[in-house]
Every structure is written in structure tokens, then in C-alpha cells.
């Protein structure tokens, strides 16, 4: 295990250093090596997608074989997945399959995701209404008032258009000053955290790939 961990750590550090060097030092050998490693990483990501699909398939097949509750829905899922995958594999080589592949996206994925977002809008509205009753506090009031001001400043009022004082002053102040300043702090923290994480991985202190 130690040898395995040492090997994986060495590989990770070496790859990181090569990519980093290829990023800063534009030597052909370093750039080529860096591009090769990045390409490998991309391919492994694609394999990860396939692995995730296989795992999903195994889980739901298990649910069906064990006759667990919801097995019927698992059958639907597996059928949809296999059918879509099969059609997708055929589409580039078999033109009549291409509309079916587009159908899977436009008739299923697109409207369902949009509908889920509509559910989210309803749910957020309902939660905002319920918030003062369930948790009446200063922060709840601030949250509700801020949300209302942003909505008022963003959306036009019927027959009125822009909301005076809100659309031209309050809403830009909230979105471009208050929220943006907070976002800057978050972004700076993210950048520093990413830098520290990268250095820790390069030094072998962090091993997200496993190993001890």
C-alpha cells in the first residue's frame, strides 16, 4: 500500500509539474507533454462518464432483480437510457436515427428540466411566503426585503415599466455593489484556495487520488 501510494503520489506530482511547466515555459517538449497529459485527463473524464452510466445501470438492475419498491420506474430508466445510448451510437452512422436522438433531448430532457425549474420557482415563492411565519427574525426580514427589491428592480411592472427608485437605484446598488463586493471576496477566496490546493497536490500533501 505504501508503495502504491508513493507511486500514485509521484505520478500526480510529476504530471502536475509537467502541466504547470508547459503552462509557463513554452518549450515544445513541455507543451507537447502537457498537452498529452491533458488529453489523457480528458479521455479519462469521458471514461468516467461511461463508468457512471454503468454504475447507474447496475444499481437499477439490482433494484429490479431484488424486486425492490420502484422497480417499475427502474425499468423505465433503464429502457430510456439504453435506448438513448443505442440511438446515439447509431446517429452518426445512420442518419434516420439522428432525429430520434434529437427527440430524446428536445422532447424529454429540455421540457423536464425546464419544468423542474418552474417547480423551483413555485417552491421558492412558497418558501419566501412561509419564511416569516416559520422563522421570524431580523435576518428573515432582511432576506425577504432584499428579494423583493431585486425582483422589483429587475422585472418590469405591468403598465409602468421601470420601478422608480428601485430600478435605477436600489436594484443596481444591491446587484452591482453589495452582491458584487461579496462575490469579489468569494472569488478571491476561491482563487487562494485553488492555489493552495494546487500547491498541496504538487507537494504531495493532498492526495485526492487516494493513497497514504
Amino acid at each position: 500500500m505504501k508503495l502504491k501510494g508513493l507511486f500514485s503520489t509521484a505520478v500526480a506530482v510529476l504530471c502536475g509539474l509537467v502541466v504547470l511547466a508547459g503552462y509557463f515555459v513554452r518549450l515544445d517538449i513541455l507543451v507537447n507533454a502537457s498537452n498529452t497529459l491533458i488529453t489523457w485527463a480528458i479521455l479519462l473524464t469521458a471514461f468516467a462518464i461511461l463508468l457512471g452510466i454503468i454504475n447507474l445501470l447496475i444499481v437499477h438492475v439490482g433494484k429490479i432483480t431484488r424486486k425492490q419498491k420502484g422497480g417499475f420506474y427502474s425499468i423505465i430508466l433503464i429502457f430510456a437510457m439504453l435506448a438513448t445510448f443505442a440511438i446515439g451510437l447509431l446517429a452518426p452512422h445512420f442518419p434516420p436515427a439522428s432525429p430520434a436522438f434529437d427527440f430524446a433531448f428536445r422532447a424529454v430532457q429540455l421540457p423536464v428540466e425546464a419544468s423542474l425549474m418552474a417547480l423551483l420557482a413555485v417552491t421558492l415563492t412558497y418558501a419566501s411566503i412561509r419564511l416569516p411565519r416559520r422563522r421570524l427574525s431580523v435576518f428573515s426580514v432582511i432576506f425577504i426585503i432584499t428579494g423583493l427589491l431585486v425582483l422589483l428592480g429587475t422585472a418590469p411592472l405591468p403598465f409602468l415599466g421601470d420601478t422608480p427608485l428601485v430600478s435605477d437605484t436600489l436594484r443596481p446598488t444591491i446587484a452591482q455593489v453589495l452582491a458584487a463586493s461579496g462575490a469579489r471576496g468569494i472569488l478571491i477566496g476561491v482563487a487562494l484556495g485553488a492555489l493552495a490546493t494546487g500547491l498541496r497536490v504538487l507537494f504531495g500533501a493532498d492526495r485526492p487520488y487516494g493513497g497514504k
Binding site: Y23, V31, S34, N35, I38, T39, A41, I42, L43, T45, A46, I49, P92, D102, F105, R106, Q109, L110, E113, A114, L116, M117, A121, V122, T125, Y126, S128, I129, R130, L131, P132, R133, R134, L136, V141, I144, G147, L148, L151, T154, A155, P156, L157, P158, F159, L160, G161, D162, S167, D168, A175, Q176, A179, A180, G182, A183, R184, I186, L187, V190
Partner: protein, 786 residues
């Protein structure tokens, strides 16, 4: 005149002295292999090498008993090993556990000869109380002189407890006695058979007194034997006997008188042994004698260790009858020698009546003679510390002898030493005492390795009670705290049950409210779409960022390649399409060529969907675009594309060479694009694109068309100039549409967006106020009730 230091006490003595004038120990050894050997090696001298073949010339068969003044010859004791009993041989193999590593670990049998024959070390002679320590030291001093067969025992026995090593020249007849004595010692872990003459001569006073009281003349072989140990064959001349043995012989026919001094010299545990009242005078001195026991029926008090010792000797002798060198162990105690009174405890030495094998070896048959209840005595007497560790082994050894099974009726009542009584199994004691020992109830435990210890063993009457399996109460033993916790838990469970009863009504109420909210929102969104009327005016306040975007796009040359990145989810396609449509329409009107790419699997389809739904006009008029498809790997994919877009996306989604299409002609790297327009709803995706392409994008501007939810996170990049333009949400698309495009998707959504947002604002405001009032009233009521 050089002085000779006594090997025992270390005090100087004149050279001509044969024995120490202080302690009486012999200064000049009686034995010596050769005259050369008798010459001591002095300090600074080199030891001379002697041929050991000299010893081989001496045949053991020709050896006679050694006499005083004769030169002893080394004895080849290896031949005797064949005649060793099996149990003794097993001791050589280390079967005996190292129980006698220290004097404290010595077994009781071991310590009997050690006590009756203290080692003649200086310490022991000077300090009679520390006789055990002297024993250890004496053995350590002469360890190298131990014969071979004794050396074999050394591994099993305690080195520190071995007596002083024998001299090389021993009489031939000494072998049997060595063996039976070694048997004793072997069982005890301390073979006393090879006691040298020094040992005999340096016997303590109490032992000398014991010898004077012996009635039977000791054979010559006993000169090599420890004091008190009988010897059957009287072949050796009496003149070879040491003085103390002579005295022993002279007293052998005299009635044995108790020696008060001997009792005083005994260790406490031995001297404290209770003696039967009728035999007190005779048994006061635990003299070792060859006298047979007077009668079997005589009430005696024999220490069980001694009876056990005898039984072991008998058992061993039966197994060795083929060997002529050995005599039956029972020989030393002929029953017909005399009927004179002897100590009762000694009289039982000849009796071979241990209990049955299944029964414990040490059983008191007569409870009445014991001053205390047997069971009580067994548990109340304290065990010497140095013996406490040996109990299990001793008790195991004391069982199972055939002779013990033979005559169980001959057992006599005896006052056992405490440590022997402690060895007795609990059942035997309890069964003997029966219900007569209720006093100890509750003072002891019933079983386990601590059996025999005071205050540990139970004295419950009846064996059945002892063996009855413990009855464990099924009822839980709960404390007050546990009961209180249980009550709390029960209360919580009950409260939980009541809450469930209220849940359906609450769920129904929540569900109704959710339905109402949904209906209102859906109606507000659908009303403008269904009615087809526009009741929401256009934006009058234009966002500041839209002008930057239009400025950048207006600076593009005609037929400029533009890279469009579709990095948003289908869920937000409605907002992003409405936001991006006027911008892309503007770009296409400028004659730009489009390259489409995405870091989401659904991105290519979304791009196609976007163009088909928002740019039908341009598609019909020969829109030139190339869908590069999906870039896997997230940041790595973006970096790969930024580094070498040709290698990262070689083919279109249709499988054609991407960079040979009309839309991407003249583009081989990222900076060849006239602009990069990123459509995203995720601030992280926008950030990654900005960061990963910074080093490769050159002067190419980056424009962002983002969802309203990503604005706060992307705006800092716009403010810092890392991106050159930004269109945010439906509002941004509507304003851009108002300026540079025909009314389109943004306008269609505008009324629904405004009305739906207004409905949501009203519901949130009203519902929030009402909820706050209700919560406030509930608090007030709760405060009043409290």
C-alpha cells in the same frame, strides 16, 4: 602463614584446619579427581588443561562406595540416564514449567528438603532465617559442578534452588538414592540428591539434632544424601558415615524424642502446622527418619506435602523396578522396623492411601481433629506467598496416583498446612463439611481460579448449590436515572405520535397554499401569452454593460469568426435563449461565422436548438457555423481547447473535419477568433473560461451572456476588464433587443416575466407580512400563556 577462607562463611581459617572454625564447614574437599585437581588455581595462574580421558578409565561398575579419605573419582552419570524414570526424563526435556525460577516459586515438595537440609552457604549458616536465599546462592556458586543428569534437570528446575553441586567422586551406591531423591527434587523442581559432603557437614543445628534422634542406623550411602532422607541399603560401612549420620545411626534404635530445638528451627509455616493433640509430643519435631510408621490406624498428622511426596516416590519406583540401581521408594520406610512412636505426621509417610483419583488427593477424613472447620481452614489459612503460584500444579500432581486410589480408608485426619489446604478443590472441602460451614456464606466466591483463597470461595452448603448455574434475572435492572430517561423517551414518543395526528391537516393546508401559489404564477405567466397583448412597456433604463457589448461587436470586421460557447443547462435555456438571441442576431447580421462549442454534453444540442429557434432567418440565408461539439474534462477540456483548438476539437458533431469548414477557415488557435461569446448560467463555468483562456486568447475579446443568477459572480470580471461585455438575463437581452435587433423572444417573454414577477412580489409581500403577524401573535400568545 596463609589463611584459607571458608567457602561457606568466607572467614579466614588456618591452612591446616580441615573444617571452618567458625561455621564448621569443610575447608578441604574430600573429593578430588586427581591430585592435580586438588590443587586450586590461584589468581593469576593459568588453568592447566587436563585430559578428560582419565575419567573414562574409571568404570562405574567397579566403583565402590566412597570412603572418607579416599580419592573420589568422577562418575560417569550418563550411564544412569537409561535407568531414569520416564517422569524424570521428561523433566529434562523441560516439561516441568519454570515454576521454580525463584525461591518464591518453589513448590512445597521442593522446599521440604531444602528446609530440612539448608544449603551450607555462608549466608545460610550465618543467617538461618534467610535460608532460601542461601540456597539460591549456593546453587549458583557450584552450578558448573552439577553432574550431567542433574544438569539435565537444571533446565526444568530452578537453577537458583539447586543445592550445592556434588563432588565428582560419588559412590556407586549413591546413584539409587540420587535417583529417588532426584525424583523428589524433580517433582519439586529442586533435586537435592547430589548434596555434597559440605552440605552434610554444614547442616544446621536443627538438622543435626534431628539426626541424633534417628533410631535406625543410616547406611553409608546416605552420606551423600540430604539429611533426613532415608536410605534402604545398609551396604556402606558405618565408618564412612559422617559424624552426624553416625549420630543418627546411634539414635536409630532409641525411641524418638521430640526435639524442641528442631521445632524452633522449622520455618513458620511448618512449625505452625497443627498437630493432633494425642501426638503432639511425638510429632512436634518433623524429623525425617527411616523408622516405619508405627501403625496405619494411628492418628497422625502428616503434612500432605509429605504424603504426596511419598506417593510420588512410590509411583516412580513402580515404574523403575526393572532398574536394579533403584530401590522402591517405599523402602526407606519399612513398616516392620519398629513400633516405636514416631511423629504422627511422619508415620503417614508409609501409608499409601490417598483418595481416589477422582477425589482430591488431600482430603481430611476426620474433621473433629481439626481445630477449625475443614472448609473454613482451607479457606481461612493464608498461603505463603512463595507457594501461592504453585497451587494449580501441585494440586494437579497430587491427583491420580494409583496407590492413592488403593486405600482411601487409611487416610488419617491431618492438619494440613494452609497452602496445602488451599490446594484442595473446593468441592471436596464443601462436600466434607456439608452444611456445617454456613459461617463462611457470603465471604467467598463459588468457583474460578481463585478457589481456595480466603474470602473468595463460597461456603454454600451442598454441592448442588455450588454447581447450580447462576440464574440471571430476565428483568432489567434499571436505575432511577434510567427510569427517568425512559420516561422522557416515552413522553417524546407520545408527543411524536400526537404530532403525526396533526400532520395531515397541516400537509393539506400547505398543499392548498402551494396550489394557490402555483395557479397564480402560472396564470400570470400565461395570461400575456394567451391574450397576445403587450401591457408592459419597454425598458427605459438601459444597463451599462450592454453598451460595451454592442461596441465590441460593432468593431468586428465582416466575416469574422466568432466562437460561441454554450455552457448552460437546458433548464435555463428559456432565459439564456432570450438573452442571447438579440446578441447573436446582431452578430449574424454583421456577417460573422460561428464556431459552436460546449463543455456540457447537452451543449451541442442546445446550440442547435438555439439557432433553430432564434435564428431561423440566418439559417435560411446561409448561416455559416460549425458545431465543434462537446469538450470533455471541464477545465482540462477548456485548457486543451485554448491551447490547441484544432487538436482539441478535430471533428464536428457530424464527424466532419471541423477546421476545414467554411465557418472556421483561417482559425487555428483561440486568438484567431474575433470574439469569444460565452453563454452560461453557471458562474464557475464563466470563471473557468476566463481563467483558462487568458494565456492563449490574446487580444480577442470575451463577452458574456449570462443568467441573472450568475451576475454577482461574473460582474467583478466585467468591472476588472477581464471580459469586455456582458448581457445579463432577460433584462439584458430585452435592452439589447430594443437597441440592435428586431423584437423577438425577449419581447415575447417580457410581459409574462413582468406579470409573473409582480405576482410573486405581491404574494411574497402579503404572505410575508401576514406570516410575520401570525408569528408575532403566536409568540405573544405563548408569552401570555407562559
Amino acid at each position: 602463614m596463609a589463611d584459607v577462607h571458608c567457602p561457606m562463611c568466607g572467614k579466614p581459617n588456618p591452612e591446616e584446619q580441615d573444617s571452618c572454625q567458625f561455621c564448621g564447614a569443610r575447608l578441604k574437599p574430600l573429593t578430588g579427581a586427581t591430585p592435580v585437581d586438588s590443587q586450586p588455581i590461584r589468581a593469576g595462574e593459568k588453568p592447566t588443561k587436563r585430559p578428560t580421558s582419565e575419567f573414562e578409565k574409571v568404570k562405574p561398575a567397579d566403583e565402590g562406595p566412597i570412603h572418607a579419605g579416599e580419592e573420589p573419582t568422577r562418575k560417569n552419570t550418563g550411564e544412569l540416564e537409561r535407568s531414569l524414570p520416564s517422569w524424570l526424563k521428561s523433566l529434562r526435556k523441560g516439561e516441568e514449567p519454570p515454576q521454580a525460577e525463584s525461591p518464591a516459586d518453589a513448590s512445597p515438595d521442593l522446599n521440604l528438603p531444602a528446609e530440612s537440609q539448608p544449603t551450607p552457604s555462608a549466608e545460610s549458616s550465618a543467617e538461618s532465617l534467610d535460608w532460601l536465599a542461601g540456597l539460591g546462592s549456593a546453587a549458583a556458586e557450584d552450578e558448573e559442578e552439577v553432574p550431567d543428569w542433574m544438569a539435565g534437570l537444571r533446565g526444568a528446575s530452578a537453577p537458583g534452588l539447586e543445592p550445592e553441586a556434588p563432588t565428582p567422586a560419588e559412590p556407586e551406591q549413591a546413584q539409587p538414592e540420587q535417583d529417588w531423591m532426584s525424583r523428589l527434587g524433580g517433582e519439586a523442581g529442586q533435586p537435592p540428591a547430589d548434596s555434597p559432603e559440605q552440605t552434610v557437614e554444614s547442616a544446621p543445628d536443627w538438622l543435626s539434632r534431628l539426626s541424633q534422634e534417628a533410631e535406625k542406623p543410616q547406611p553409608a550411602e546416605t552420606a551423600e544424601a540430604p539429611a533426613g532422607e532415608p536410605q534402604e541399603e545398609p551396604a556402606a560401612p558405618e565408618e564412612n558415615l559422617p559424624d552426624w549420620l553416625d549420630a543418627l545411626k546411634s539414635k536409630s534404635t532409641v525411641s524418638e524424642e521430640p526435639s524442641p530445638g528442631s521445632g524452633n528451627d522449622l520455618p513458620d509455616w511448618l512449625s505452625g502446622t497443627p498437630v493432633a493433640p494425642a501426638e503432639t509430643d511425638a510429632a512436634a519435631a518433623p524429623v525425617f527418619t527411616s523408622e516405619p510408621p508405627p501403625a496405619r490406624d494411628a492418628p497422625t498428622e502428616v503434612p500432605d506435602w509429605l504424603s504426596q511426596l511419598q506417593s510420588d516416590v512410590r509411583a516412580a519406583s513402580d515404574a523403575e523396578e526393572q532398574a536394579e540401581e533403584f530401590e522402591p521408594a517405599a523402602g526407606p520406610f519399612p513398616a516392620d522396623k519398629s513400633g516405636e512412636p514416631i511423629p504422627d505426621w511422619l508415620s503417614r509417610v508409609d501409608q499409601t492411601a490417598p483418595p481416589a483419583a477422582s477425589a482430591p488427593a488431600l482430603v481430611m477424613s476426620d474433621e473433629g481433629e481439626s481445630p477449625v472447620e475443614p472448609s473454613q481452614a482451607a479457606f481461612s489459612l493464608e498461603t505463603p506467598d512463595w507457594l501461592s503460584k504453585l497451587r494449580p500444579d501441585r494440586s494437579a500432581e497430587t491427583q491420580g496416583s494409583p496407590e492413592e486410589e488403593a486405600e482411601p480408608e487409611n487416610l488419617e485426619t491431618a492438619d494440613l498446612p494452609s497452602w496445602v489446604q488451599a490446594m484442595r478443590p473446593v468441592e471436596s472441602v464443601i462436600s466434607e463439611t456439608g452444611p456445617s460451614a454456613p459461617d463462611d456464606a457470603g465471604a467467598t466466591e463459588d468457583s474460578g481460579p481463585l478457589a481456595g483463597l480466603r474470602g473468595v470461595l463460597p461456603s454454600n452448603p451442598g454441592l448442588g448449590t455450588m454447581r447450580k448455574p447462576p440464574a440471571y434475572a430476565i428483568k432489567l435492572q434499571v436505575s432511577d436515572n434510567q427510569q427517568r430517561y425512559a420516561a422522557h423517551l416515552e413522553k417524546m414518543v407520545l408527543e411524536e405520535g400526537r404530532a403525526r395526528g396533526l400532520t395531515p391537516a397541516r400537509l393539506t393546508s400547505n398543499r392548498v397554499w402551494r396550489w394557490i401559489i402555483s395557479i397564480i404564477l402560472i396564470a400570470a405567466v400565461l395570461l400575456p401569452l394567451v391574450s397576445g397583448r403587450q401591457f408592459t412597456p419597454d425598458m427605459k433604463l438601459l444597463p451599462s454593460e450592454w453598451s460595451n457589448t454592442s461596441t465590441v461587436l460593432n468593431e468586428f470586421p465582416a466575416d469574422a469568426p466568432i466562437l460561441l460557447v454554450f455552457d448552460y443547462d437546458p433548464a435555463l435555456s428559456g432565459e439564456l435563449e432570450a438573452s442571447a438571441a438579440p446578441v447573436i442576431d446582431h452578430v449574424l447580421f454583421l456577417g460573422a461565422r460561428l464556431g459552436l462549442v460546449s463543455t456540457a454534453p447537452t451543449g451541442p444540442a442546445l446550440a442547435e436548438q438555439f439557432l433553430e429557434s432564434t435564428q431561423p432567418y440566418h439559417l435560411e440565408t446561409g448561416l455559416q457555423y460549425t458545431n465543434l461539439g462537446y469538450l470533455a474534462g471541464g477545465p482540462a477540456g477548456i485548457l486543451s481547447f485554448a491551447t490547441d483548438p484544432v487538436a482539441a476539437a478535430r471533428l464536428t458533431v457530424d464527424g466532419d473535419p471541423a477546421w476545414e469548414t467554411t465557418a472556421l477557415q483561417g482559425v487555428s488557435k483561440l486568438s484567431d477568433f474575433a470574439a469569444v461569446i460565452i453563454l452560461t448560467d453557471n458562474a464557475d463555468n464563466g470563471r473557468i473560461w476566463i481563467e483558462q483562456t487568458r494565456a492563449f486568447i490574446g487580444e480577442t475579446p470575451i463577452l458574456m451572456i449570462i443568467s441573472a443568477q450568475a451576475e454577482p459572480m461574473i460582474r467583478p470580471y466585467d468591472d476588472s476588464g477581464q471580459i469586455q461585455g456582458m448581457v445579463t438575463g432577460l433584462v439584458g437581452g430585452k435592452t439589447y433587443e430594443q437597441s440592435y435587433a428586431a423584437p423577438g423572444l425577449a419581447r415575447r417573454y417580457w410581459d409574462s416575466f413582468g406579470l409573473g414577477a409582480l405576482a410573486a412580489e405581491i404574494m411574497i409581500a402579503v404572505g410575508g407580512v401576514l406570516g410575520a403577524i401570525m408569528a408575532w401573535r403566536a409568540r405573544k400568545q405563548a408569552g401570555e400563556e407562559a
